[in-house]
């Protein structure tokens, strides 16, 4: 890449780029079906199955369906379908790593819009201690385990328990705010109800409504509130190490000034304080790259694909962004 091109990229405002990219991704994932678009049914992002106009499907939905089979079936050719879907998911994920969260996820985007609304209204965010969140963060792994175990328990008896009701087949989807929020964007409000057809469904859809409320209110006071509990994010993290798109840190260049941590929407402290790890992607990271834009040290933080640095922190870029920002506010 020519130096001029490289410089103009490193001077760029990644926040603005991301804002427009998210809108594009949202349109494709939520309305793509209108143009007969169907990217994949194993998307590593919350492209919810419920809006009929979706342009692709969130992998968690087929995953829950596919693991709903007996142990015997796991040894049958049926498993090929499971593995293909899984392979597709892993492949798609490895291409863009957790940037799926920061740049594509419709639920992430909606939360970012809610944050923008809050900023527009001049309301301050809630302040929480780091310890509280570290405790809550474990929940996403619990959800991930449950969303696999529950469907498994429909076809099999787990630990001698009676088999579960079919109502828990897509239990996570019932809880997920994607199901309740995204159809609204296509004019479909039908998910905003509690299903009283059975006890299980009543509980699940009731919880779903509660999650919806919590997500909306939570995201208003805490940026990307739901993402802290997202099982997709947990599943991502299992494969994150092998992904092509990377976020790299050079600890030797870090002054621990904390700029990156200060701007991080997910409150990831390691980005500033970890000087050892080169691959600095943490399980809550959504690869929005705000940290890279906030870092004033030459090449300390880098967005990479193998063999190439796509975007990196530079002193010049830092001051250029800071000045344009301050001019804008004037």
């Amino acid at each position: 890449m020519s130096t001029v091109k490289k410089r103009s990229i490193n001077h760029g405002d990644v926040n603005r780029f991301r804002f427009w990219f998210q809108i594009g991704a949202f349109v494709i994932l939520v309305y793509g079906g209108y143009w007969a678009l169907d990217i994949s049914t194993s998307l590593p992002t919350f492209s919810c199955v419920f809006p009929s106009s979706r342009g692709g499907t969130c992998y968690l939905y087929p995953l829950q369906h596919q693991v709903n089979m007996t142990w015997k079936q796991f040894a049958s050719p049926r498993v090929i379908g499971v593995l293909t879907a899984f392979g597709t998911f892993v492949f798609l994920f490895l291409l863009f790593n957790k940037a799926w969260c920061g740049f594509a996820c419709p639920i992430g985007t909606v939360q970012d819009w809610i944050t923008r609304l809050r900023l527009r209204m001049g309301i301050r965010p809630g302040v929480y201690t780091e310890a509280t969140f570290n405790r809550l963060k474990v929940l996403k792994y619990v959800l991930l385990v449950l969303l696999i175990l529950l469907p498994l328990g429909i076809s099999n008896s787990l630990l001698g328990l009676p088999k579960f009701s079919h109502d828990v087949a897509t239990s996570f989807c019932m809880l997920c705010p994607g199901r309740t929020i995204l159809p609204i964007f296509t004019g479909d409000f039908s998910q905003l109800t509690i299903d009283f057809s059975s006890k299980t469904m009543t509980v699940l859809t009731g919880l779903g409504m509660a999650v919806l409320g919590t997500t909306l209110v939570g995201a208003f006071y805490k940026k990307r509130f739901f993402c802290l509990f997202c099982p997709m994010s947990a599943l991502h993290y299992v494969f994150s190490k092998g992904a092509l798109l990377g976020l790299k840190k050079d600890g030797a260049k870090c002054t621990r000034c904390g700029n990156c941590y200060r701007v991080c929407d997910m409150g990831i402290r390691e980005i500033a304080d970890d000087l050892e790890r080169r691959n600095i992607v943490q399980d809550d990271c959504m690869m929005c790259f705000k940290c890279v834009a906030a870092c004033p040290e030459e090449g300390c933080l880098k967005v990479t694909v193998p063999g190439l640095t796509v975007y990196q922190s530079t002193e010049e870029g830092f001051f250029a962004r800071s000045a344009s920002r301050l001019n804008h506010e004037r």
């Binding site: 900023l119 780091e130 030797a252 621990r256 904390g258 500033a272 004033p296 830092f318």
Partner: protein, 428 residues
């Protein structure tokens, strides 16, 4: 102290300051060749203030600061003029010695002496003196300064900067300071004003970084004595004028770098200066180093690099986020030895040593500054392990030890030169 005696002390301190300042300026200007033209702004500035006593800041109310951790953006946003009062004057050190412990730190003694003597006109107009609870001596000095009748604000600093608790504590502390400043000046710190203040200081820091980068050049386009004069002027100069003057100097230095011009000898050993802050007129050690033919290409001191290197980053343009953003700038990257762990200072020194391609590090500690005296051991060990020789100098503000210092620095410079020769001999 009675009025008459106070007046006598004041007069003799003013005279003493003017004399030692003149002497330092003469040395800085005249014992070296090829001073950059753009340095004249700074030479004149020091002459006007320190020698002729023309201190002034226009019409803004004065707020004094006593350490590098005072967020000046807040002072600016409250409509006041931040003036760093840390003194490098032997005359004031002597005033302070009359009532301060004999084995105390000269920076603290001189600063307290300065305030005691009320020798400079701005002191009469101090609306607030912000004293961070940095080291014990400074902390306790706050009480003495308050007894002298100054309105002292004690800015609480956490003893650590690694934990979230410390950070939260500091955020609250800075928030309280902003309220106190508003009360002092009667001007509210608004979003807009804080923005302007951040813009002013960030521009200054950007210019400073450009300046530092130019000093990385081989050969160095500037001597360290001038660099320290520039950064030291930030203590009392109007920030915007300072930035403009530095921009002019940078232009001149850029031309020098292009033409490979240097005021030092072509093969002068390159040094990094660290330790207790050199503050004008006490540029004894840096001057001595450069008079012996070496050149200071970088520094890691709170009167220079630590004061100016870092910039504020904001996430959202609201006060609730901007004030903590400003606060973070003064805590997170600060490598002051008051903090319980200071690995970052070690890393910074090692990084600078290789970045500026230095041949050695000069570590100065004023007798009585226990923290820098204590840290020299671990810093020295880390540097030596990395193959960077370090010279540790214990000194103070008096001119008495010049001969002894000179011998030690000369030997150090000579050993570096020998090393260079050996390396070159090995190569050819």
């Amino acid at each position: 102290m009675n009025v008459e005696r106070q007046e006598r002390v004041r007069k003799s301190a003013v005279k003493g300051l003017a004399m030692e300042s003149m002497e330092a300026l003469v040395q800085i200007r005249e014992s070296f060749d090829e001073n950059p033209k753009a340095m004249d702004y700074f030479y004149d500035l020091y002459h006007r203030t320190y020698c002729l006593g023309e201190w002034g800041n226009g019409k803004r109310p004065e707020v004094g600061t006593l350490c590098v951790q005072v967020p000046e953006e807040l002072i600016l946003a409250a409509g006041a003029f931040p003036r760093r009062l840390c003194s490098g004057s032997h005359a004031f050190d002597q005033v302070g010695s009359e009532f301060m412990p004999a084995k105390g730190c000269p920076v603290v003694k001189a600063t307290v002496g300065l305030l005691q003597s009320r020798a400079l006109p701005p002191l009469e107009e101090m609306r607030l003196v912000v004293n961070p609870t940095s080291c014990d001596q400074k902390k306790k000095a706050g009480e003495m300064i308050a007894e002298m009748g100054y309105p002292v604000y004690s800015l609480e600093i956490p003893p650590s900067r690694d934990t979230e608790e410390a950070r939260a504590y500091w955020h609250r502390s800075v928030k309280r300071l902003s309220v106190a400043l508003e009360k002092t000046t009667g001007q509210r710190i608004t979003r807009k004003r804080l923005h302007e203040a951040i813009r002013t200081t960030n521009t200054a820091r950007q210019e400073y970084r450009r300046f530092s980068k130019l000093r990385k050049a081989q050969p160095s386009p500037l001597l360290g004595k001038d660099a320290l004069l520039v950064t030291n002027a930030y203590f009392f100069d109007d920030i915007e004028s300072w930035t403009e003057a530095l921009a002019r100097l940078n232009l001149e230095l850029e031309r020098r770098v292009e033409n490979k011009l240097t005021p030092a000898q072509k093969r002068a050993p390159r040094f990094l200066l660290t330790g207790t802050p050199p503050v004008f007129p006490n540029l004894k050690v840096p001057l001595l180093i450069e008079q012996l033919g070496a050149v200071i290409v970088a520094d890691e001191v709170c009167s220079s690099n630590r004061l100016l290197y870092d910039a504020v980053t904001m996430d959202t343009p609201f006060l609730y986020d901007m004030i903590p953003a400003v606060a973070d700038r003064y805590l997170k990257p600060c490598t002051c030895p008051i903090f319980d762990r200071n690995e970052d200072r070690k890393r910074k020194l090692l990084d600078m040593a290789s970045d500026y391609q230095v041949d050695g590090v000069i570590y100065q500690a004023y007798a009585g500054c226990h923290l820098y005296e204590m840290e020299q051991q671990s810093m020295g060990r880390a540097l030596t392990e990395a193959g960077v020789p370090m010279l540790y100098l214990e000194t103070d503000y008096s001119p008495d030890d010049a001969g002894q210092l000179s011998t030690r620095v000369e030997a150090f410079v000579e050993s570096i030169r020998n090393r260079q020769r050996k390396l070159e001999g090995g190569r050819s």
